[in-house]
Amino acid sequence: MSGFTMVEALNRALADELEDDPQVLVFGQDIAALGGVFRVTAGLTERFGDRVFDTPLAESGIVGTAVGMAMYGYRPVVEMQFDAFSYPAFDQIVSHVAKMRNRSRGLISLPLVIRIPYGGGIGSVEHHSESPETYYAHTAGLTVVTPGSPADAYSLLRSSIRSDDPIVFLEPKRRYWQKQEGTLPVTTPDIGTAVVRRPGSTATLICYGPTVDLCLETAQAGTEEGWDLEVVDLRSLNPLDIGTLVASVEKTGRAIVVHEAGSFLGMGAEIAGQLSERAFYSLRAPVLRVTGFDVPYPAARLESFFLPGVDRILDAVARSLAY
């Protein structure tokens, strides 16, 4: 059977980088014998020995030791088990990972990747479904990448490991088991490039990570209304590929940003600001946002009410067209 899932793509990307570069190390909680709670690292410790290892249960310790290893020339790839468990490492990420190159006037590079499964939709308990992308994307010195497809998961993770800058790599956990046709390896456009996943003319849906497939599904549903929706997958949140967004809006005149994180000061706010500065005369309606509500992530039985869905996005398209 051909095709591969996002988990398989991530696993293969790690394996291929471990194979190609002896400086690559993979570590985190439960990633060795267990292969990670999502099995992203399954089989790697059997194949690469102590270059893939378990750590004590301490997220700040994982990221902080990765800083020291990166200073010494290794390329650590560390896993935070779930989104909200990256917060104990927040001080290390913001105060050191992001700033070390600048503080040292360019003399210290930290080529490390922090993998974080993120987002909701898996019916989990509290602290397992959050969307922390804005915290990281807001921080100067960090690069924030999030794949929306298995092919991007493979290619962007390989690019991230090869980058001389630290990368926060956000993995949309509810898409882990999504399958894509084709075979690995694949090469997709590099970090910093947004991709038009579906060309269209009615309006632009701007999405990333878990909302990419949602927007593609919405675009399909929109054809029943006679709408031809364009879908742009950001892939990289910092840097943000404003050029591709402006080009799309110059064509469609309307933009709707879709993400699971709350709207207040979220990626949608930044994108709306950028488009109003750079594509004001092309816009035929305000940039709209379809996002999670600005409440703590709800209990599992309520998450379907919280998460953006096809109908809510189609409603936003209708509101945009009504201007």
């Binding site: 902080g64 030791t65 800083v67 020291g68 010494y72 050191h96 190159r101 503080r103 690069t143 840097p239």
Partner: protein, 366 residues
Amino acid sequence: MPDDSTVTDPAQMIRCLPDPAAPDAPLSPHSLSDDQLLDLYRRMVEIRRLDALAMSLQRQGQLGVWASCLGQEAAQVASAHALAPQDWVFPSYRETAVGVVRGIPFVDLLSQYKGIWLGDYDPHKYRFAMNSIPIATHALHATGLAMAARRAGDDLVAVAYMGDGATSEGDAHEAMNFAAVYGAPVVFFIQNNQWAISVPLHRQTASPTLAARAGALGFRGIRVDGNDAAAVHTVTADALAHARGGSGPVLIEAVTYRIESHTTADDQARYRTEAEVAPWRERDPISRLDRYLSGGGLLTDDVRDGAHQHADSLAAATRDEILARSPGDPTEMFDHVYADERALLEEQRQMLVAEQRAFEESWEDS
């Protein structure tokens, strides 16, 4: 070298030089040659003079702030002196004496406090990491680098310098625990100077000593008189050999005292009395080494005067250099954020350049 009593009994610690405050305390032998002892003395005199220079520069408005290491010269100089060139130091902001012993020109350390840049020396050249202001966070970097060096088969030890307050931070615990679990060659050098800004040691821990913590994590802890240069050097050399030999990390608690306020922005009169500080002045680490060396006939008036003259001339030259140092092109703030060029930052750089140009033109017109 240590027995358990030196680790857990606050009354016990390793001493080599007679302590006027504890005349009956047993003394251990030290491992230093006469030349090494004299070198420690000269270095301590030098750093005390440079520290005084920094204090006066701050009072004159030339530095934004300064964190003095007055009273901690033995702990810093003697421990740094024991390091091998290939070892890495992970300092907090108070380890200026360590930096000087590692060879960093003092002016480059002052540069940060004048606000020239966030750090202004080559960390690789001196194997002295960028000093870390968030408390205890750098201890993890030391552990990570030591894990990396061990993995690479390289012979080096990473030394994390922290204060007593830092031991309350989670990162200190995580750094020690990781180092112990992986057997990483790290020396955690804790200067227990009794105060974390205004909070005394007994508010940081209920443990009788800081050194005792190592035992709970499964590695060696040592307690040493931090105002005794010979003891600090001997204990540090022993700890480095232990870590270098693959036996895992060591925690050294150097018991000392912060004579000055936390920084020039702090006012110690609000939380402690001169009556508390006075006995520690009597235990001054330089006077103590001076008495020991003078008693043995090693330190003559000529050597003492020479040390002070050297320190004075170094301070005078450093003063000229730091006064002459000014920030460079402000657009450098965009240069080191990322390894590659970022469109957003290039736009903002051009905005700043245009702003500067407009300002200069309006200045010329007026």
